[in-house]
């Protein structure tokens, strides 16, 4: 007969309580975090070079126009690559499916934000995250399309190119504001950041912020 802990003497360690849940829960796999990191790096490079091409003071400071244009174009063209590679991951596809659709509690979340109420129900992703994901994906595609029209000048008639420049410029401004909002949310939500960095979040935090998520 094997001895159980505690039976050999008073100095033995007490038996741990059997059914206690771990305090950390899994939120993102390594593949998902890699997709996020690669997308974030490309986006930051793309936005930084855009600023150096566009803001006169920065353009005068940096110069090197050909290099800056090259970095801007290639980071922009490669921006969808991490997403497409990520589709190989089942966890990433599952999260996309969650991000893509509004459920009844997402509508409740939007109403709560509008009425400045504190109870804001959410699944694994809240409605704000879903809106951000959809909008930024659409905006990035428009930037890619208009950017290609501006790059390959022989593709389309002049009127298209002028229009593409117009849309590219104004949408860049809007995206700058929205991406700044995304960074602000990350900055003010440390546990979300931990989740994206380590893949795990605090169970109590998850229950609080994402009550409908059953990890």
């Amino acid at each position: 007969m094997t001895s159980t802990p505690g039976s050999a003497g008073p100095t033995d360690a007490p038996t741990p309580r059997p059914s206690e849940l771990p305090t950390r829960v899994r939120r993102f796999t390594r593949a998902e975090r890699l997709v996020h990191r690669a997308t974030a790096t490309l986006t930051l490079l793309c936005v930084a070079t855009a600023a150096c091409l566009y803001v006169p003071a920065l353009a005068e400071l940096v110069g090197r126009r050909h290099l800056v244009v090259t970095v801007h174009i290639w980071t922009g063209v490669l921006l969808p690559a991490p997403y497409l590679l990520g589709l190989a991951s089942r966890a990433f596809r599952a999260d996309l499916a969650l991000l893509a659709r509004f459920t009844s509690y997402d509508k409740e979340w939007v109403r709560a934000v509008r009425q400045r109420r504190f109870h804001r129900p959410a699944g694994k992703f809240n409605a704000g995250q879903k809106l951000y994901a959809g909008w930024i994906a659409g905006a990035a595609l428009v930037m890619l399309g208009t950017g290609l029209l501006m790059w390959f000048t022989h593709l389309a008639p002049l009127a298209w190119r002028t229009g593409a420049t117009f849309v590219h410029d104004w949408l860049a401004l809007a995206m700058g504001v929205v991406i700044a909002g995304h960074l602000w949310m990350a900055l003010t939500h440390p546990e979300s950041r931990v989740g994206m960095r380590t893949g795990e979040v605090d169970r109590a935090w998850a229950k609080d912020e994402h009550p409908h998520w059953k990890p």
């Binding site: 006169p56 499916a97 991000l99 893509a100 659409g138 022989h154």
Partner: protein, 269 residues
């Protein structure tokens, strides 16, 4: 952003493809616990943005003028200069291909004229100012699309400088060098001898500032603005046209506004 169906083992909220989009709406409140396919918000956002983008490209020619004139009027009353950060197709934009460009003062500036000429010469800024000055007022058209109407440039006709130096019979073209250390440009001798091609000392009736290529830049009125090399420091007469900086990167050497680079802008001359 269209989600791929996760193979086999599915997470709880899955779209049910055959259900019409509006069918589940009234049921929402009655059975919140049942699997809720939900509204495809991401798809709508993506398609909506694509639609807006296409509409923006199509509407730009009509909208842009209004926005430009509005921003122009706002900029007149804007002490902060913040209006300058909005996209605007009028007004100059700063392009430099070099890392940083050291400023030249009247004391340090020189313009060297050499190559296939009888009398190579090096001008100071004061000497250039003492030569006969010509003023040309034309639109400035950049190959990237922006245009600044009725911009006065003033300086010495290039043809006058070439005559003073005496072009040798073997000379066929002119190559321009810049003190940013990187940029270069070229014109044929016939193009260089036009009377709207200047070695410009003034723009908008003021001394050329550094960020516009001062103290001395080239000004080629009938061509796209990349021909008007900033920070001009050297003029060499050569026996053939040597492509300049942007021309090595695919832009046209003969850059007539409206007849080159695949563009159909209104000619500036």
């Amino acid at each position: 952003m269209t989600p791929q169906p996760p193979d086999g083992t599915a997470p709880p909220p899955r779209p049910e493809p055959k259900q019409p989009p509006d069918a589940q709406r009234p049921a929402d409140a009655e059975r919140p616990a049942a699997p809720d396919p939900g509204t495809p918000v991401a798809r709508r956002l993506v398609l909506g943005m694509l639609g807006l983008g296409a509409a923006g490209v199509a509407a730009a020619p009509y909208v842009q003028k209004g926005i430009d004139s509005f921003l122009g009027a706002a900029a007149d009353k804007d002490p902060t200069g913040l209006t300058g950060l909005f996209p605007n197709s009028s007004g100059f934009r700063y392009y430099s291909v070099a890392d940083s460009v050291r400023k030249k003062t009247p004391a340090t500036y020189r313009l060297d004229i050499g190559g296939l000429v009888e009398r190579p010469v090096s001008y100071t800024l004061a000497q250039l100012r003492a030569l006969p000055q010509t003023r040309v007022v034309r639109d400035v058209q950049c190959v990237t699309g922006w245009r600044v109407p009725d911009t006065p440039f003033e300086g010495v006709r290039l043809s006058h400088l070439l005559d003073l130096a005496g072009v040798k019979p073997t000379g066929r073209a002119v190559r321009f060098l810049c003190f940013d250390g990187t940029y270069s440009e070229s014109l044929t001798l016939d193009q260089a001898r036009r009377d709207d091609v200047l070695v410009a000392l003034k723009m908008q009736d003021k001394d050329l500032p550094h960020n516009h290529g001062g103290p001395v830049r080239l000004y080629v009125a009938p061509m796209y603005f990349y021909k008007s090399a900033k920070w001009l420091s050297g003029i060499n007469v050569t026996d053939r046209v040597l492509p300049g900086y942007w021309e090595e990167l695919g832009y046209d050497v003969d850059a007539w506004v409206g007849r080159s680079n695949g563009r159909t802008d209104t000619p500036t001359v």
